[in-house]
Amino acid sequence: MTKIEAIIRTSKLDAVKDALHEIGVEGMTVLEVRGHGRQKGHTEFYRGQEYTVDLIPKTKLELVLADELVEKAVQAIANAARTGKIGDGKIFLSRVDDAIRIRNEERGETAL
């Protein structure tokens, strides 16, 4: 099992969600986050005082998938979230040891 953490543009959430549904991904967790990579922030003015906002609002998806789905999911996310400009986001993959469905304590991939 693999955990996919994808940080994407907030405006791309719907497209990414649709793309994942298309390849058969059934569950995900979505978080509103702030952060930055190479993308510079923007400036805001309040009564003439300039503020630099360097933590930019982004959306983070977390999903845990059976290994055979992972590469397709990565492609789906990357294709749907891409604009080609700095700030498109990142995808991180990591191993997951186990999964437990709380309702009936099924374990492993069947719990996904």
Binding site: L31, E32, V33, E44, F45, Y46, R47, G48, Q49, Y51, T52, V53, P57
Partner: protein, 462 residues
């Protein structure tokens, strides 16, 4: 008595159709009485509505305006500072404040004749307002006494102890507000324009009494207390411009009560002041936005509402003395001027007037008071008369150059009183209670440290 209930309908019809001259003159007297009663009722109704409008400026108007400008950990503490004035100043006003402001006294302060509102009842005080009960005049003036100290709270936002704030405001109200109100508006006051003051200063609704005193005291507070931790390095943007926006809109509406109500009757002068108020606010909005647009490339929502407030401040002393075109000019000048004060001057000198109480009220009030001396028109309000009752010129545009000097005297006295009074009170409260919260409490936020609660308990991450 003027305020007695009007005679029952049908009473006049019972009069004999024919009769002696005595009966006729009695009937005329009765009709005159009814006309006077009707005017009395109309004026009183208007002034009670205006009183409520001016209270609405403090809560929720100013509370929202300031509350939105602070960080979210201080929203309740900031709103509470305004709301506390609604309670504390009211009690103080009933005991001694009204008497010190409007009771008969010397040139500088009222006496103790009206303490505990003694003698302030249904009977009008003809020196102030002949067609409303003295009690209506008292409650109307109270609303001004409430908002004035509340305006100061913008300067020491996010760092002053609640206890110290309350004590400071009680003393400030008695030591700075009451004398200034008495000098400008009280009978026998040094600056009173209609009751024979030595330097007749035109201040229709409180440019000097309310805005210069509060704004300059705010600057003194900001300098004395020092900057907030992290200012100006850490960003401290408003946590909700939405709240400030709503607050400013309520201020604009409430200001009609503030300025048009200062006519103290429901006649055409109230209309004139209402119009000038609205025009001043509109022009200042455009002035501020234009300056911001040129400098930053965008006109912001916060800029627009701040400009409106700056215009309302500046038109306050002028409202009942100037026509609509002069109001536009005053507003436009004030909008640009106040923008430069908060955007450039504050940054250059580095004082932390957190919510720009000085930049908007001190600066706007000062420029408004001076411009009143220039634009005042005897056609709008024939305030100055010679011994024969002929109307004299009001402002510089009518050739009365001395008026600018009188306005200057009024402004200087307001500045001096505010600086000295505020410094002395701050020092006193600092020694007894201490003004600032601890560093730990300031970082934690005043909502929790001063009041034990949070403004937004169910926070959504965003």
């Amino acid at each position: 008595m003027l305020w007695a209930q009007a005679p029952a309908p049908g009473l006049a019809a019972q009069q004999p159709a024919t009769g002696s001259q005595g009966v006729q003159s009695e009937r005329i007297a009765r009709l005159e009485q009814q006309v006077a009663d009707a005017k009395f009722s109309a004026d009183n109704a208007w002034m009670l509505v205006c009183s409520a409008l001016v209270l609405m400026m403090t809560g929720p108007g100013l509370a929202l305006f300031y509350g939105g400008l602070v960080r979210k950990k201080n929203v309740l503490a900031t709103m509470m500072q305004s709301f506390a004035m609604m309670a504390v100043v009211t009690v103080l006003w009933a005991i001694v404040g009204y008497s010190l402001s409007f009771g008969a006294g010397n040139s500088f302060i009222g006496g103790v004749h009206n303490v505990f509102l003694h003698g302030v009842g249904a009977q009008p005080d003809a020196d102030y307002a002949a067609t409303i009960p003295a009690q209506t005049f008292m409650i109307y003036q109270l609303m001004f006494a409430i908002i004035t100290p509340a305006l100061i709270t913008g300067a020491f936002a996010e760092r002053m102890k609640f206890s110290a704030m309350v004590v400071f405001m009680v003393l400030w109200s008695a030591v700075v507000y009451s004398p200034m109100a008495h000098m400008v508006w009280g009978k026998g006051g040094l600056l009173n324009a209609s009751l024979g003051g030595r330097f007749p200063t035109l201040d229709f609704a409180g440019g000097t009494v309310v805005h210069v005193t509060s704004g300059v005291s705010a600057l003194v507070c900001a300098l004395y207390l020092g900057r907030r931790i992290g200012y100006p390095k850490s960003p401290m943007p408003p946590h909700s411009v939405v709240l400030s926006f709503i607050g400013a809109c309520l201020l604009w509406v409430g200001w009609f009560g503030f300025n048009a109500g200062s006519a103290l009757n429901a006649g055409s002068l109230a209309t004139s002041a209402f119009v000038a108020t609205h025009f001043g606010a509109a022009a200042a909005t455009i002035g501020w936005c234009a300056a911001e647009w040129i400098r930053n490339g965008k006109a912001s929502a916060l800029g627009a509402v701040s400009g409106a407030v700056a215009g309302l401040v500046a038109i306050t002393p002028a409202a009942g003395f100037v026509g609509p075109m002069a109001a536009l000019a005053i507003g436009l000048i004030a909008g640009v001027f106040c923008y430069l004060m908060v955007a450039k001057v504050k940054a250059r000198f580095g004082y932390d007037d957190s919510l720009d109480a000085f930049g908007v009220h001190g600066a706007g009030g000062t420029i408004g008071a001076l411009l009143t001396g220039i634009f005042a028109s005897s056609a709008v309000n024939p305030i100055f008369k010679d011994a024969h009752g002929n109307t004299l010129a009001s402002g510089v545009i009518e050739g009365n150059f001395r008026q600018l000097g009188n306005q200057f005297v009024g402004v200087v006295i307001a500045w001096l009183l505010a600086v000295v009074g505020t410094l002395v009170i701050l020092k006193l409260v600092d020694v007894i209670i201490g003004l600032r919260v601890s560093e730990e409490h300031e970082i934690q936020g005043l909502d929790l440290s001063q009041h034990g609660e949070e403004g937004y308990y169910f926070e959504v991450s965003a």
